[in-house]
Symmetry: C2
Subunit: 430 residues, 2 copies
């Protein structure tokens, strides 16, 4: 551990977690005020320097990661967790490339949302401004340190990062390299701060720091997100579950439906946009051709009574299956009586993330898109496309299933708010 | 009290406040789903019928209001509170007119925020949709019952209204008339529900009904808003304080500055957009001409040492004055050394509502508009213009000083969220 890190860590018990968060948040917000006044080109250039700095810091970052990997193995982390934790030259290069890509994204700050003139001559504009200080609470993946920080800086925000204890050495090395590049580019160091202690109470202090932390983004497993949502008194941008449905309507093209359903479930089973429930219209003529390829690809299929009639290998589904995000090669299947029944099932069981209809009937598609009330509603596409990169946003800080501020994949625009500018010539209100 | 009201009121102690809120919220959300599927014209027509119904119900509403007035007088309500409570034929007509005006506002629901095509042929749109169920917690003014309900219905939302006990008879009569008109227009009655009990625990149950109530809008005094913000686990749209500053820059036109300053403070002292602190540039040549008319208009002026030198009638300001929303004919005045000092004072003491600069120096104005981080930032205009109607929004559900979702005057757009529509032709993700 470097001297610098020891210096900013709370010494003994003198500084409470609340005081630490307040100190970091105030420093971050002060730095953010300076960042927001930099021209867009300066923020872009600084992020490109940060990307270069990450590449140059391979001799520091990979050994730090090796310590985390060794500790993780000693602590008995699962293979999946170790894989998330692991960095190698290719992954580190990809992390630096991602930072450079975010640097090149269109700057939302200063964009004029709308403008209007009033009869009294007042001219009003709404203009995008940064939110302020974003708290990121995350686990395992050290690349979040770079990704989240880059998105915050590009959008003029300060980031307060709180990574997991399993990645502490990796996160510190990445943070140090990133900030060195930013500072080289004229960005104040405190714009991106890494919480210097693994004290778990600091997370609680971040979650309740209303007025200091403007928004929290949790990145990690369901238990992390659930805890953040339960305890936060600060606005949270997150999704808890991705219980995504695909409804194969009577008028779906069978070849297309077969391909999309297989992709929606099996391309990657562990992502939030993976299909978890397949709804098959009772009059759809090729139900077996949907299910058989899934089973043959190694997917466990659980169905209601009518679905079980499609294939004898379908296991019975319990009531809880319709509300379960498997994140695995498991699928629940229900046979439904037409569009209304599908929409009703989704209204009851969807987590509001992504739901899709497959059909060649334009009217049915229009009704589904209109009436299904999820962050993302798709027609004739795989739910695995639910991703900021695939949506053309360049990156994402996360996918949100709340109803306010931002929904679905959230990138730079979702990290901004707006203010009203009113320009007059001395108007007084009658 | 009508039989209908007794029927839906919780009987004895069998239904807890939480259960009552859950039942009302589920009924409201179910009705909202139907409302959202009505064409815009149907919602407009139903609101116009509601306005007519309000006009027709004068023989019921005014006597109900008379009961509240009599009770209020017996309970010793202040004259200001009684005036807020009081309805007469003109005020009732104005209330109905306001509902008809909201009916005619442009419908935000279904508006396409943006659209994009991806190289793989996917077409993405973001389209505005209602938020869902909005809880309105308010005091005194019975017109909020009609205003807030109309804004919710126009934007496709359900409203759960919880008015103050002092206006209970007025609110019930207004609610009954309003709903009768809506139902006549084909809108489900449960779209606008009035909480049928004055049990104060119901407010707490609304504030913590995450997942049932989508947003809370408090309308009332500071103690109500503070309680809502402190206790809510549901997103809140509100402002606590309107500590609005006007900075008279060295290059302000003296005649304009004198008129704007007097208007910003004295037009109406009790509204949230009223100026509470005047900042005068140390080199501004006509400081006395700003302060004298205020004092002569009956304003108590409190100043720092340098401000006190302007006029012997200026009282000394204490430290707390810079953070006080007087909502009265009282003003704090500070002399500051130029633009940077003014921006720094505002950053420290503003409540983020509305702050203004008066100057003929375009560069100073541009810096002020850019660097002051409030919901509304004005140049050469009275802060009293901070109002949805004055901004051309047609109405407002409130003014928000939070940083997420909506800031400043919030009208129909702020009562919507969006969803992503993705249209494909069978795309699977590689």
């Amino acid at each position: 551990m470097s001297t610098q890190l020891q210096e900013i860590a709370p010494e003994s018990a003198q500084e409470t977690p609340q005081a630490l968060v307040e100190r970091l948040a105030r420093a971050g917000r002060a730095a953010q005020t300076k960042l927001a006044r930099l021209p867009s080109e300066a923020r872009e250039a600084a992020l490109k320097l940060a990307a270069q700095s990450l590449r140059r810091a391979e001799p520091e970052i990979l050994p730090a990661n090796a310590i985390d990997m060794a500790n993780g193995e000693a602590r008995g982390l699962t293979g999946a967790l170790l894989d998330r934790l692991r960095l190698d030259p290719a992954r580190l290069a990809a992390m630096a490339d991602a930072v450079a890509q975010v640097a090149s994204l269109e700057d939302p700050v200063g964009q004029i949302i709308d403008s209007r003139s009033r009869p009294n001559g007042l001219v009003l504009e709404r203009v995008r401004v940064p939110i302020g200080l974003i708290g990121i609470i995350y686990e395992s993946r050290p690349n979040v340190t770079a990704d989240a920080a880059a998105l915050c800086v590009r959008s003029g925000n300060a980031a307060l990062l709180r990574g997991g204890s399993e990645a502490v050495h990796s996160n510190r090395a990445i943070h140090q390299a990133l900030v060195a590049g930013l500072v080289e580019g004229g960005v104040p160091a405190d714009v991106v701060q890494l919480v210097p202690t693994q004290d778990r109470e600091v997370v609680g202090a971040m979650l309740t720091a209303a007025g200091l932390v403007d928004m929290i983004v949790p990145r990690g497993g369901k238990s992390l997100v659930a805890r953040v949502q339960a305890d936060a008194r600060v606005p949270v941008l997150a999704h808890l579950d991705g219980i995504c449905h695909t409804f194969v309507h009577a008028a779906a093209d069978p070849a297309m439906a077969q391909a999309v359903v297989l992709n929606a479930k099996m391309r990657r089973t562990g992502i939030c946009g993976a299909m978890e429930t397949l709804l098959i219209d009772a009059t759809y003529p090729a139900a077996a051709a949907l299910v058989t390829p899934l089973i043959e690809a190694g997917c466990e299929v659980r169905g209601d009574a009518r679905a079980q009639a499609i294939d004898p290998r379908i296991l019975p589904a319990g009531a809880e299956d319709w509300d379960t995000e498997y994140l695995d090669a498991v699928l629940s299947v229900a046979v439904v009586d037409g569009l209304d029944a599908a929409i009703a099932h989704i209204a009851r069981h969807s987590s509001g993330h992504t739901d899709a209809i497959l059909t060649d009937d334009a009217q049915a598609a229009a009704r589904f898109l209109n009436e299904v009330d999820s962050a993302i509603v798709m027609h004739n596409a795989s739910s695995q496309f639910a991703d900021g990169g695939e949506f053309g946003l360049g990156a994402e800080i996360g996918i949100a299933t709340g109803r306010l501020h931002a929904r679905g994949p959230v990138a730079l625009e979702g990290l901004t708010t707006y203010k009203w500018l009113v320009r007059g010539t001395g108007q007084v209100r009658p």
